[in-house]
């Protein structure tokens, strides 16, 4: 587990003789002068005698390691999750601490719950000043924690390292946002030229909730700030979201000023203003901004950290929903296979092509590319083989290759990724979007995909994220 590759770490001590990369025969592989295992008292371990298992097991074992959690089957997963959530939201425990408490009380949930308030998890001992100092030290010195420590003598190196890794994670988060902002800016530029944004966002991974307010969504948008919400408050000035409505009531009918994009219906009139706005999908709540700016010391931070918490809990939700979708998807796939085996369809399959079928096949290729299996499944009246020969026969006539090219273009986008180590950008070809699974089984997936869209595009998450920046 060491390396030969890095120059600075090269350990010239153990050179290996040259070897050909194409060696096929093991005799060639055998190297004369190769490094050998050393034999002698200085190298081998002294093998212990085989013992009789000790009688006093308990006594000996307890010294070795401290048990902090042990699994139990007396508490259901659901109950355990509820408990963890409660201890997190109400008392600020992380799940490890919460489980520790439960174990301490011998898995007695009630006792643990009542004891939660008696302890306060250690608060984050990094003040804003610390964080700023760290960041500027890091930017000038780099990852030399010994030297950073000289600038922050009250922090042990362990604490610096720990903070560094979390901070790095956060920093990436912002770079993701920057990336998205850039992408959207260019999309918007195109939009201005074309006056249409059709197809431009299909490959975008995240914050874009605005494209079709009605489509597949049970949420409605606020007429003031455009945020999607489940409950709207109707007023004589239009339906409003909770925040706008509160402002409306407090100010006796005033319209809440927003920094977010203007209402959908007059958006195209404000192209110039758009340029100074945060990326689409991000909204800044004016009230919050004001309280951050004018509030007494610490109040701003409280607002921000509350928003951070909200972002985290929304992200948790997103991921667990994705897991759920993945699970359902897998099940569906299995079910489809089962179904397919039970009911063969040869009777319905005729080799002659009707006009409708031709249309369907072409549209199928638009949607699934060369995944003939998926297309065959959609059509139901032609097999995969039929479609393959259809493709080779009518390739020219229907310009099928153009369709496929278009499909490929939509599927592949270049995503820039930061390598986890040296922060060098790595260009990597990837799936169209980080969140959407490639569609392979048509009907099952179509609904699943839409679901994902709805989840990832939760406008509230972006609103808070933007405000937190």
């Amino acid at each position: 587990m060491a390396n030969d590759n890095l120059e600075d770490l090269k350990n010239g001590k153990r050179p290996a003789t040259s070897a050909n990369a194409e060696i096929m025969d093991i005799d060639e592989l055998i190297q004369e002068n190769a490094e050998k295992i050393r034999v002698g008292r200085d190298y081998q371990a002294v093998i212990p005698k085989l013992l009789v298992p000790p009688k006093n097991r308990r006594e000996r074992l307890n010294r070795k390691a401290l048990l902090v959690w042990s699994p139990t089957e007396n508490i259901s997963e659901i109950k355990l999750n509820e408990y963890i959530l409660l201890s997190k939201e109400k008392y600020g425990y992380n799940s490890e601490q919460a489980l520790g408490m439960l174990y301490w009380h011998h898995h007695d949930m009630e006792k643990a719950l009542s004891d939660l308030s008696n302890f306060a998890p250690l608060p984050d001992d990094w003040s804003t000043d610390d964080k700023v100092t760290f960041e500027s030290a890091f930017n000038s010195i780099g990852k030399n924690f010994l030297r950073i420590k000289q600038m922050m003598p009250d922090k042990p190196i362990a604490s610096l390292v720990k903070y560094y890794y979390l901070w790095k994670n956060k920093r990436k988060k912002s770079s993701v946002i920057d990336r998205q902002a850039k992408k959207l800016a260019s999309v918007r530029a195109n939009e201005n030229q074309n006056g249409s944004r059709e197809g431009s966002s299909s490959a975008e991974s995240e914050p874009d909730d605005k494209k079709d307010p009605g489509e597949g969504s049970s949420k409605q948008s606020c007429s003031i700030c455009g945020v999607f919400v489940t409950t709207l408050h109707p007023t004589q000035k239009g339906s409003m979201c909770g925040t706008c409505h509160t402002h409306f009531r407090r100010t006796n009918g005033g319209i809440r000023p927003t920094l977010g994009p203007p209402r959908p219906n007059n958006r195209h009139l404000n192209v110039a203003r758009n340029k100074r706005l945060p990326p689409r999908g991000m909204y800044v709540n004016h009230d919050d901004l004001q309280s951050i700016a004018s509030g007494s010391n610490g109040q701003g931070e409280t607002v921000l950290s509350a928003m951070d918490d909200e972002v985290v809990s929304l992200k948790c939700k997103i991921q667990s929903n994705k897991q759920e979708i993945g699970h359902v998807h897998k099940k569906l796939k299995l079910d489809v296979t089962e179904f397919r085996n039970v009911e063969p369809t040869p009777s319905r399959v005729i080799s002659r092509w009707s006009n409708d079928e031709v249309m369907l096949a072409i549209q199928g290729m638009r949607k699934y590319g060369k995944d003939f299996k998926a297309i065959a499944e959609t059509m139901g009246t032609k097999t995969q083989t039929h479609l393959k020969s259809f493709y080779s026969h009518y390739r020219k006539r229907y310009k099928l290759d153009t369709i496929l090219q278009k499909y490929d273009a939509e599927q592949n986008t270049v995503i820039i990724e930061l390598s986890d180590d040296e922060d060098e950008p790595v260009i990597r070809k990837d799936e169209p979007s980080s969140t959407i699974t490639r569609q392979s089984t048509p009907s099952a997936l179509a609904s699943g995909t839409r679901l994902i869209n709805k989840l990832t595009l939760n406008p509230k998450a972006h609103q808070t994220a933007a405000a937190a920046k």
Binding site: V68, P71, S320
Partner: protein
């Protein structure tokens, strides 16, 4: 508390400080990956399915069970601010370049070693089926020398602990580098077989030739599988499975240690193989099926997002739990972008290991294994997961160490067959399905285990211990007459 049938009792060793040690700027070894793994498996809900231990810090006394006193004394005293006073010793112990002096170095070694030793003790007590210490696996460390980012060899210390109650221990190493430290430590003994799969040829550490097979009593007890660049999942499985099968058959260990170095994964910063997380995990799955007391340790792994993916997945494999491909949100979520998935795809690098080449290696190694004193007619084989059965046990949920320690493992493992053959069928399909005809000495706990199984599934703690003593004496008297090299208990 009861244990679900078919599920393994898994103990996991972790210290929350371990991620805070830092080898230095630009150094590829990042203990932080262990914390990332921990956080990921916590958020996957795997944490709550295991016993979680915070390991003790191994003492100098414990570490000198293998390492030399001087070397440990040196490790204990060296610090970044006094290293100029130690120039000579640093050279002698190979500390400074690959193995830098960093803040908290000694504590880091203590935690890593403490985990593996505690895990071995736990297995010896038979109060766990599988123990995991991702902070361990530092397989290059030598008796008096640091090497390849490793200072204290937690694996050797763990195996030495296991050897107290196990006649034979098998060590398997799937790190991309040769497990030279462990091999060297046990090069001349027949009680530990070391099996290492590694890249060989112009590669660190340079050892691990096919012809290196051990020395003295330990001849044929070191097995080296030298491989070339680009090993993929299929090739790896095609060599791993037959070799481990044959090793299990001929060596018949009563405990296994698996070093799960993740630098054999595709895209590793230092590695050159092309394994996916699934392919890597298959090795764990395969070894687990034997149902032997099983210690899993970490090791190399330098593309840390993949290391934590891999070890999280392997923790799930150990537990027999299925986990979603979508990662749960966690403290280090952004490290896993852009896909945020558990599994990774292989790259398009060429696999320079031809099938014929692998076949030749395999046959050469089979020849060597045939030289081992073999138990005729004894068939050992991996068994399917669902064939493993054990009864649920009532257990004390307060202190797991006070649970009936043997009953659970006993029902699965029947490594010896002194009593009867039919007994085992359908009940304990683990190791040793056939009649054992040679009378080499077997590990002393074996008779007790057997007794436990015969004892209609339930047994009291005191009773079998009485039996252990009695049977053990008989067993020893047999073995002392036996000229077979297997009975060697060094004095």
């Amino acid at each position: 508390m009861s244990i679900t049938p078919f599920k393994k009792r898994v103990c996991y060793y972790y210290d929350s400080d371990i991620g805070n040690y830092y080898y230095g700027q630009g150094h590829p070894m990042k203990p932080h990956r262990i914390r990332m793994t921990h956080n990921l498996l916590l958020n996957y809900g795997l944490y709550r399915k295991m016993e979680i231990y915070r390991p003790h810090k191994a003492t100098a006394e414990e570490m000198t069970k293998f390492h030399s006193d001087e070397y440990i004394r040196f490790l204990r005293s060296i610090r970044p601010d006094n290293m100029n006073d130690y120039n000579k010793q640093m050279q002698r112990f190979n500390v400074g370049e690959d193995c830098p002096v960093f803040d908290g170095l000694y504590e880091f070694c203590q935690l890593s070693a403490g985990g593996s030793v505690a895990a071995a003790v736990k297995l010896n007590k038979q109060s766990a089926d599988i123990c995991i210490n991702w902070g361990g696996g530092l397989h290059h460390a030598k008796k008096s020398e640091a090497s390849g980012f490793c200072y204290v060899n937690d694996i050797v210390l763990g195996i030495l602990e296991l050897l107290k109650y196990h006649q034979r221990v098998l060590y398997i190493d799937i790190d991309v580098h040769h497990g030279d430290g462990v091999e060297e430590a046990f090069y001349t003994t027949d009680r530990v077989m070391t099996v290492s799969f590694h890249k060989y040829g112009e590669y660190f550490p340079g050892t691990g030739d096919l012809r290196d097979i051990g020395a003295g009593k330990g001849k044929y007890y070191a097995v080296n599988i030298p491989l070339r660049d680009g090993m993929d999942d299929d090739s790896y499985e095609s060599i791993f499975v037959p070799i481990i099968t044959k090793v299990m058959e001929t060596f018949q260990p009563s405990a296994v240690v698996l070093q799960c170095g993740a630098d054999s994964l595709t895209g590793d910063r230092l590695g050159c193989f092309n394994l996916t997380v699934k392919g890597h995990g298959k090795c764990v799955e395969f070894v687990k099926r034997y149902g032997l007391p099983f210690l899993m340790v970490g090791g190399g792994g330098y593309t840390i997002r993949n290391v934590s993916r891999c070890w999280t997945y392997e923790t799930a494999v150990a537990l027999g739990a299925e986990i979603a491909n979508e990662l749960p949100y966690n403290d280090y979520f952004e490290y896993f972008g852009p896909d945020f998935k558990l599994h990774i795809s292989p790259s398009n690098m060429t696999n320079t290991n031809a099938t014929e080449y692998l076949e030749k290696i395999k046959n050469r190694l089979f020849e060597n294994l045939r030289m081992l004193p073999h138990a005729p007619g004894v068939q050992v084989q991996a068994i399917p997961e669902d064939g493993v059965r054990n009864e649920s046990e009532d257990e004390d949920n307060v202190n797991p160490d006070e649970r009936n320690p043997q009953s659970i493992t006993d029902k699965r493992i029947a490594p010896d067959n002194e009593f009867s053959d039919s007994e085992d069928e359908g009940m304990a399909p683990g190791v040793g399905g056939g009649g054992r005809k040679d009378n080499r000495s077997y590990k002393t706990v074996a008779p007790a285990r057997k007794q436990a199984r015969l004892d209609s599934n339930r047994m009291e703690v005191d009773e079998p211990e009485f039996n252990i003593l009695k049977d053990d004496k008989e067993d020893k008297s047999v073995s002392s007459d036996d000229s077979n090299k297997k009975d060697a208990v060094k004095s």
